[in-house]
C-alpha cells in the first residue's frame, strides 16, 4: 500500500465523478429550454443506476480474471473487493475498493455520453433501461478486453485512459441510438438552437477540470507518468481550441462560443488514449490534428438526416478514433517505458490501434442495436409526439427548468 498513490487516486476518482454533472451542463445548455431538465437528468441518472449496476455486477464482468473475452462473477456484489491492495486484478498499491470506485466513474460517464444522440425525444424510462443494461452488456466486456487482461490487450493495443473503451464505444452506440430512436419530429424544419450557451461553456470547463482525474488518474499511481498525462491533458485541448478557432474564422468569420466548448471536448477526447504515452510536444500536434476531422464531421453530419443531436459521433466517435490512431504514431517508449509508435520506428502499432477501434465500433454498434430493439419491444423508445412538442421536462418529470411566474402555481391541497 502506498499512501501517496492512494491520496492521488482518491482525488482523481472524485474528479472523474464530477465529469458527469459537467456533461449534464454541457448537454443541458445545448438543447431547448423545454428539455433542459430532461437532458441534464439523462446524465445525472447514470450516477445512480449505472453506478449501482457497476458495483453489483459490472466491475466483476469487466475486471475479474475470467477469460480473454469477459471477466466472471467472482467479484459480483463486490465480493473480495476490500481494503487490501488490488492484487491479482491489476497489481496496484491502492485499496481494491478504491480502484473499483475509480473504474465506476468511467462507466458512469461513458453511458451518459450516449444521451447526446437522443435528447429531446427519447422516453426517459426506455433510456434508463438502455444505459443500465448497456453498461453491463457493452461497456463491461470492452473494458475487460483492454484493461482486464483481455484479447485486445494481448494483441498489443494500447489505450491509456479510454479513447476506445469510453469514446469510440460511446460514439458508436450514439450513432446507432440516433438511428434506431429516429430524428426529432421537428428536426430539419425548424430552428433548434441551444438555449443557454453559458452553461455549455461551464460544462466544458468542468469537463476539462475533471479530465485531469480521468487521464492523470489512469496512471493509477502518483507517478511521473501521472505528471506526463496531466501535462498532455492540458496542452492537447489547448491546441485543438486554437485550430478550431481558425477553422471557425475561416468558415464564418467569427470564433463561436459553442465551437470553443466543442473544441475543448474534442481535444480532451483525442488525448485520452495517448495521455501517458506521448510527449507534451506530440500532444500539441495530436490536439491540433484532431480538430480537423471532428470539425468536418460536424458540418457534414448537420447536412444529413442523422439526428445525432449533440454530435456525440463527431466529438467522441471521431475524436476517439483519431486519438487512438495517433497514439500509435506518437507513442514514445523513452517516456512511457512500454511501446513505440510509428514516429519511433514501430509503424505496425497504428494497424493494431486501428483494429481495436474497428472492434469497438462493430461490437458497440451491433450490441447497442440489438439492445435498443429488444427494449423497444417492451417500452416505446420515443416519447409521444405531443409530449415531444410540449417538452420532456413537463411530460417526463413534472418540472420546468425556468419557472419565473411564482404566482402561476398553487399548492395542491393536502399534498
Amino acid at each position: 500500500m502506498n499512501q501517496a498513490d492512494t491520496a492521488w487516486m482518491l482525488i482523481a476518482t472524485a474528479l472523474v465523478l464530477l465529469m458527469t454533472p459537467a456533461l449534464a451542463f454541457f448537454y443541458g445548455g445545448l438543447v431547448r429550454s423545454k428539455n433542459a431538465l430532461n437532458t441534464m437528468m439523462m446524465s445525472y441518472i447514470s450516477l445512480g443506476f449505472v453506478g449501482i449496476a457497476w458495483a453489483l455486477l459490472g466491475y466483476s464482468l469487466a475486471l475479474a480474471p475470467g477469460s480473454n473475452w469477459l471477466g466472471d462473477t467472482s467479484m459480483a456484489l463486490l465480493n473480495g473487493v476490500g481494503l487490501a491492495e488490488t492484487g491479482a486484478v491489476v497489481p496496484l498499491t491502492i485499496p481494491h475498493a478504491l480502484y473499483m470506485a475509480f473504474q465506476a466513474t468511467f462507466c458512469i460517464i461513458t453511458a451518459a455520453l450516449i444521451s447526446g444522440a437522443i435528447v429531446e425525444r427519447m422516453r426517459f424510462s426506455a433510456y434508463l433501461v438502455f444505459i443500465t443494461l448497456w453498461s453491463l452488456v457493452v461497456y463491461a466486456p470492452m473494458a475487460h478486453w483492454v484493461w482486464g487482461g483481455g484479447w485486445l490487450a494481448d494483441m498489443g493495443a494500447w489505450d491509456f485512459a479510454g479513447g476506445t473503451v469510453v469514446h469510440v464505444n460511446a460514439g458508436a452506440a450514439a450513432f446507432v441510438a440516433a438511428l434506431v430512436v429516429g430524428k426529432r419530429t421537428d428536426y430539419g424544419g425548424t430552428s433548434i438552437l441551444p438555449h443557454n450557451v453559458p452553461t455549455v461553456l461551464l460544462g466544458a470547463g468542468l469537463l476539462w477540470f475533471g479530465w485531469f482525474g480521468f487521464n492523470a488518474g489512469s496512471a493509477l499511481a502518483a507517478s511521473p507518468i501521472a505528471g506526463l498525462a496531466f501535462v498532455t491533458t492540458m496542452l492537447a485541448p489547448a491546441a485543438t481550441l486554437v485550430v478550431w478557432t481558425f477553422l471557425d474564422i475561416l468558415r464564418s468569420g467569427k470564433p463561436t462560443a459553442v465551437g470553443a466548448a466543442t473544441a475543448i471536448v474534442v481535444g480532451l477526447v483525442a488525448i485520452t488514449p495517448a495521455a501517458g504515452f506521448i510527449s507534451p510536444m506530440s500532444a500539441i500536434a495530436l490536439g491540433a490534428i484532431a480538430a480537423v476531422p471532428s470539425y468536418l464531421t460536424l458540418i457534414i453530419r448537420a447536412k444529413t438526416s442523422l439526428d445525432d443531436s449533440l454530435d456525440v459521433v463527431a466529438a467522441h466517435g471521431v475524436g476517439g478514433t483519431v486519438g487512438a490512431l495517433l497514439t500509435g504514431v506518437f507513442a514514445d517508449m523513452s517516456l512511457n517505458g512500454l511501446f513505440n509508435g510509428a514516429l519511433y520506428g514501430n509503424p505496425n502499432q497504428v494497424l493494431i490501434q486501428g483494429a481495436a477501434v474497428l472492434t469497438a465500433i462493430v461490437y458497440s454498434g451491433g450490441m447497442s442495436f440489438i439492445l435498443l430493439k429488444v427494449i423497444g419491444l417492451v417500452i416505446p423508445l420515443r416519447a409521444s409526439v405531443s409530449d415531444e412538442g410540449t417538452g420532456l421536462d413537463i411530460t417526463q418529470h413534472g418540472e420546468e427548468a425556468y419557472l419565473h411566474t411564482g404566482g402561476a402555481s398553487s399548492q395542491v391541497h393536502g399534498a
Binding site: 413534472g398 418540472e399 420546468e400 402561476a408 402555481s409 398553487s410 399548492q411 395542491v412
Partner: protein, 109 residues
C-alpha cells in the same frame, strides 16, 4: 389596418411564421408569455410538494396588416397553429388607428 394578436403553442411559432411568409407578411413581434384558457395546466412536484401550474408557456405573435389581407392572415395562422387539442390558443383582431416608422418619422397607411 389590423393588429392580429395570436397566442399559440411554443412549438408552432415557426409554422405560423412560415405560413405568414407565404402571404408575404414578414414583420412580426414574438413574445414569450404564460397563460391559460380551458387548458388545466399540469401538476409539478418539487421536493414532495405538489403544485398545480395553471399558467402554461405560450408564445404571442403580433402582426399588423392591411384590412384587405387580414382575413387571409387569420386563416393562415389558425391553420398553422392548430393541433385540434385543448390549448391551441387564440387569435385576437384589433383595429389600428395609426402607424409610424421610427427611422423616418413617416406615417404609414
Amino acid at each position: 389596418m389590423k393588429l392580429i394578436k395570436s397566442i399559440v403553442r411554443p412549438n408552432k411559432v415557426d409554422d405560423v411564421k412560415d405560413a405568414l411568409a407565404r402571404l408575404n407578411i414578414s414583420g412580426m413581434t414574438v413574445t414569450e408569455v404564460r397563460g391559460h384558457g380551458k387548458q388545466k395546466g399540469h401538476t409539478a412536484i418539487y421536493r414532495g410538494k405538489e403544485y398545480n401550474v395553471s399558467l402554461l408557456p405560450k408564445m404571442e405573435i403580433e402582426i399588423v396588416v392591411p384590412d384587405s389581407i387580414a382575413d387571409e392572415a387569420i386563416k393562415a395562422i389558425v391553420q398553422a397553429a392548430r393541433t385540434g387539442e385543448i390549448g391551441d390558443g387564440r387569435v385576437f383582431v384589433l383595429p389600428v388607428l395609426e402607424s409610424y416608422r421610427i427611422r423616418t418619422g413617416e406615417k404609414e397607411s
